[in-house]
């Protein structure tokens, strides 16, 4: 039963992620990304981490993707601009495309490295709980500094955005 659900969620996550990149309509890309996040959340449930699963939905699918959707809607880009290059030449093409190609190669190398090394790592460390209490204790004891630093970073970004968006300067 668990294996069945694992394959279901895994296939949905991978197919929708591939389609996100393959879409010409950014609106559909955003929606497919939400589907992918939902499938990831299902995988978290299978890993016995319901708290992470729910957070995945609340934070990524619920909050961040709404923001993406807003931007796409308000910019009203219905179709991606394909430019006037009939045959896209990725490596010898102009600037941004060349950078994209390099990034793709780097990503592929990273992925292969990660997949080759993950087999040795333990699937789930023993004695590490996934309940709200366990996560809370680890977050505020062992990783307290990282947690606080991240929150300050986000606060700085927020204040910066407000200052940039202010009219009466």
């Amino acid at each position: 039963m668990d294996a069945l659900f694992f394959w279901l969620f895994a296939v949905v996550a991978i197919v929708s992620s591939v389609l996100v990149v393959g879409q010409r309509n950014p609106m559909y890309s955003v929606l497919l990304l939400i589907v992918s996040f939902a499938a990831l959340s299902g995988l978290y449930v299978l890993l016995n981490a319901p708290f992470m699963a729910v957070l995945q939905i609340i934070v990524y699918a619920g909050a961040i993707m709404v923001l993406f959707l807003f931007v796409v809607m308000l910019l009203n880009v219905t179709k991606e601009d394909e430019g006037n290059d009939p045959k896209p030449r990725f490596v010898i093409g102009p600037g941004p495309r060349r950078l994209g190609a390099v990034l793709a190669v780097v990503l592929a190398v990273q992925l292969i490295w990660a997949l080759r090394t993950i087999a040795d790592a333990p699937f789930m460390a023993d004695g590490v709980g996934t309940t709200v209490k366990d996560i809370g204790l680890r977050l505020f004891r062992e990783y307290a500094f990282a947690f606080e630093a991240t929150s300050i970073l986000i606060l700085v970004a927020m204040v910066g955005a407000v200052i940039i968006a202010r009219k009466d300067r």
Partner: protein
Amino acid sequence: MDPQLIAHLGVIGFTFFMLLNSAAVLVLMERKVAAFVQQRLGPNRVGPWGAMQPLADIIKLMMKEELRPKAADTFLFYLAPILCAAAAFAAFSVVPFGADTTFFGLLDDPVKLVAANVNVGVLALFAITSMGVYGIVLAGWASNSKYSLLGGLRSSAQMISYELSFGLSLAAVVMLAGSLSLNEIVDSQQGYWFGFIPKWYIFLQPVGFFIFMTAAVAETNRAPFDFPEAEQELVAGYHTEYSSMTFALFFMAEYIAMATMSAVAVNLFLGGWHGPFLPEWLGWVWFLAKVFLLLFFYIWMRWTLPRYRYDHLMEFGWKWLLPAATINLLVTAGLVLRYGW
């Protein structure tokens, strides 16, 4: 088959059936209360006391022509109402509505009266309700109409803004109960103080209850916060271009969301199915009575209060409600640390 499983499936089916019915009953209730407030009779032709009016409405909606704007995005246009209704139904799945029961000894082990007993129930509910906003945004965008788009944008901005205060008011109750499971939160409200004041969290969290209800009204897009469908400005908001059953799905989703929010408020603040006089197995009577009271309050408010102004709504949400919710959370946290409920 395992009798335990059959009982659980029965509970799930029953929840679904009652939610469908609640939408119909609420439509009738809304029209009757509106008539009462405005000194009219309200629907009184179909059936005794107009009680069959929802049925007539459903038949009418099914018979209507299905219209779709030519420039609309077909797939998303039909996906939006389905998403809305699905989120509304799914949200109720984690809400318990009665104490564990063996159905008068028919079962060996008691079964929980909830469709899905999730141990992070409060958060799951929060996650599912936050999915409902997609239905509204997509309806506004896919219709390819300026009224729909404005309605969709307004509604999503409103829902996102009030979700914060909503979440913070939930967190205060979670801290008091020390659990994220709705079942455990209800059970921690058992008993009385001084023998007569029920241990409901509304008495410990009066500010939290006010914030929760305000945010709930804004989340369900009900008056006085019903900007997404402000008739004078936006025709009908995000569902301007919808007709027939697709419209009915939005309509139904709104009423079911109302019922869900009331049920959650009852579980979190009003002691769920605990109450005096009735034995444990009749707890659902208390639950239904409390939910009915809150729903009446919802409808009463709609027909009494005029609509806010949109900028006032946003200002209220960000500058008053959110700070109040934050302070409430901090004070609660301090008290819980000091006295350890």
